[in-house]
């Protein structure tokens, strides 16, 4: 729908309302980032789609435009929820160059784009997939298992709200601060945010194992005239010991690069066997 906004050659957006429209367009187009996902260049087509109107506007000449298109055919990959700042910075730098910033040549713009994509993927993945979503999943799964429809609803709405905030805020921040954004977020800070998210994620995973995983053993043994349940003895030493062991086994298999798919099938079979013989259950 914004295709035909590229009417003027190298038209620089000066007016705030134009800039706001640009930000909104980048944000909305970002939804399709993974639309062209492929195993060779990942999100390159999606990112091209985001930049297309800007490129069309700045490069009316077909030759220039083809060059611009090709520049954005290269490998691109980041966490889709945090693509905003990258697109914002890239678009803003293109504007700067159109205004005459000669040191912003193609390589400069590209290196900023590539320089942002990996750290933001790291932050996004660890924060969203490693921390926020597991916490929400654990709480909402608990509700759902109790038959409470609030489970999926809260899960969906909370994630949606977070995504909207990240996309809208991220694009605007990236666009407005331009390259300074890059400097503001030093590697050390990126690292710290990731570490912080990892700490919370690890602690929460520990809590998940202790509360959500119900692996017990029905074994008993007889000592003198008493019958003692092994599980009771284990609970005295360390509650949730079996869940912890099971998780650590899975974890170490996956760390040793056993495919999750095989681990999943293996666990299914092991569970069936141990359950059949009454060792666990």
């Amino acid at each position: 729908m914004t295709e035909n906004s590229s009417n003027t050659a190298t038209a620089v957006l000066e007016r705030p309302d134009e800039q706001n429209r640009e930000i909104r367009r980048l944000t909305i187009r970002g939804l399709l980032l993974q639309g062209g996902f492929n195993y060779e260049r990942f999100q390159n087509l999606g990112f091209w789609w985001m930049m297309r109107p800007t490129l069309d506007r700045l490069y009316p000449d077909p030759v220039d435009r083809a060059a611009a298109y090709q520049r954005h055919m290269v490998y691109f990959n980041t966490n889709p929820w945090v693509v905003g700042p990258i697109a914002g910075v890239t678009a803003s730098m293109e504007e700067q160059r159109a205004k005459g910033a000669t040191d912003l040549n193609d390589e400069a713009i590209n290196s900023v784009k590539v320089g942002l994509m990996a750290p933001l993927a790291g932050i996004g993945d660890s924060l969203i997939f490693g921390t926020i979503r597991p916490i929400l999943a654990a709480v909402c799964a608990g509700l759902a298992i109790d038959g409470n429809i609030a489970g999926p609803i809260i899960f969906f709405l909370a994630l949606l709200a977070i995504q909207v905030l990240m996309r809208v805020g991220g694009t605007a921040t990236g666009y407005r601060t331009g390259m300074q954004f890059f400097e503001k977020l030093s590697p050390a800070q990126i690292d710290q945010i990731k570490r912080g998210a990892t700490i919370v994620g690890l602690a929460v995973t520990g809590a998940l194992v202790a509360t959500m995983l119900k692996v017990t053993t029905p074994w008993t043994y007889t000592s003198g005239e008493q019958t003692i349940a092994l599980q009771d003895q284990l609970d005295l030493v360390l509650p949730a010991l079996l869940p912890l062991i099971a998780t650590l086994i899975v974890y170490s298999l996956i760390r040793r690069r056993v495919s999750p798919v095989w681990v999943l099938l293996g666990t299914l079979v092991v569970g069936l066997v141990l359950g059949y013989f009454g060792i666990l259950g």
């Binding site: 083809a66 994620g201 929460v204 998940l208 999750p260 798919v261």
Partner: protein, 254 residues
């Protein structure tokens, strides 16, 4: 399971996955969403909720980092829920169907993503001629391929797997029932193990045991641990010595 229901469920699964590609990855393919959705279609929301919640825990750590393909939660969840409902069984038996279906789905997903790798070369050619419309077309061809890679196997499994599963389930002894229950209880360990490897960081790993111990020995819930961990992390980060660029080694501190 009518043809119509199977069609609808397969459609929902394929659309949920498509949302991941074209609607900003809203996580609609997660079992906690698909379970109730399938339940609604199959006429048993309650079972859909329970199966969805159970599967969500099993796949809690399953996420696509850098495009990796973990067990396919969407197809697994839909097939598990649908077959459990049509067989009139609970969440435990749903897993017998869900896990193999998720594995099957992974292969379909890998297939689709690989096919798209070839398409990207045609996009290169189009870009060299600034033919944006062609590139856009290639994007949507990829989306269509993915749609089918989800829709077709889900539909087929639902159509032809239901009767087979029902027969198997009816023949189950008590021991086998117990085996199913145990497997269902054990499977979330896979989710947590994957999550753990996702979060792997040697220096921070002991925090996992701290979180475990707090929840294991007290009434702390997952939310409680999340609150306290977040509170401590934010406090530490906010009170960190400001980093001077000349001393990068200090960044190792937490």
């Amino acid at each position: 399971m009518t043809l119509w229901q199977a069609f609808l469920i397969a459609l929902v699964v394929a659309l949920a996955y498509l949302a991941r590609r074209i609607l900003g990855d809203p996580q609609l393919e997660r079992p906690i969403i698909l379970g109730p959705a399938v339940g609604l279609i199959a006429g048993d929301l309650e079972t859909g909720l329970i199966v969805g919640g159970t599967l969500e825990l099993i796949f809690i750590g399953a996420a696509t980092f850098g495009g990796t393909a973990p067990p396919n939660v969407a197809i697994g969840a839909a097939v598990g829920t649908a077959l459990a409902i049509s067989a009139g069984q609970g969440a435990e038996t749903a897993l017998v169907a869900a896990v193999p279906a998720a594995v099957l789905g992974t292969f379909c997903e890998l297939f689709a993503k690989t096919v798209c790798s070839f398409l990207v070369h045609r996009a290169d050619a189009a870009a060299a001629q600034a033919r944006g419309r062609t590139i856009l077309g290639i994007i949507w061809i990829g989306n269509a391929i993915h749609f089918l890679a989800y829709f077709v196997p889900t539909f087929l499994v639902l159509q032809f797997g239901a009767n087979a599963l029902e027969g198997v389930l009816n023949a189950l002894s008590d021991d086998v029932q117990n085996a199913l229950n145990t497997s269902a209880a054990l499977l979330p360990a896979v989710g947590f193990g994957i999550l753990l490897s996702v979060l792997y960081n040697k220096a921070l790993f002991p925090v996992f045991f701290a979180g475990f111990a707090v929840a294991a020995f007290t009434d702390f819930t997952v939310i409680g641990v999340a609150i306290i961990a977040t509170a401590l992390v934010v406090t530490i980060l906010r009170n960190r010595t400001p980093q001077t660029p000349s001393s990068p080694q200090s960044s190792a501190l937490i």
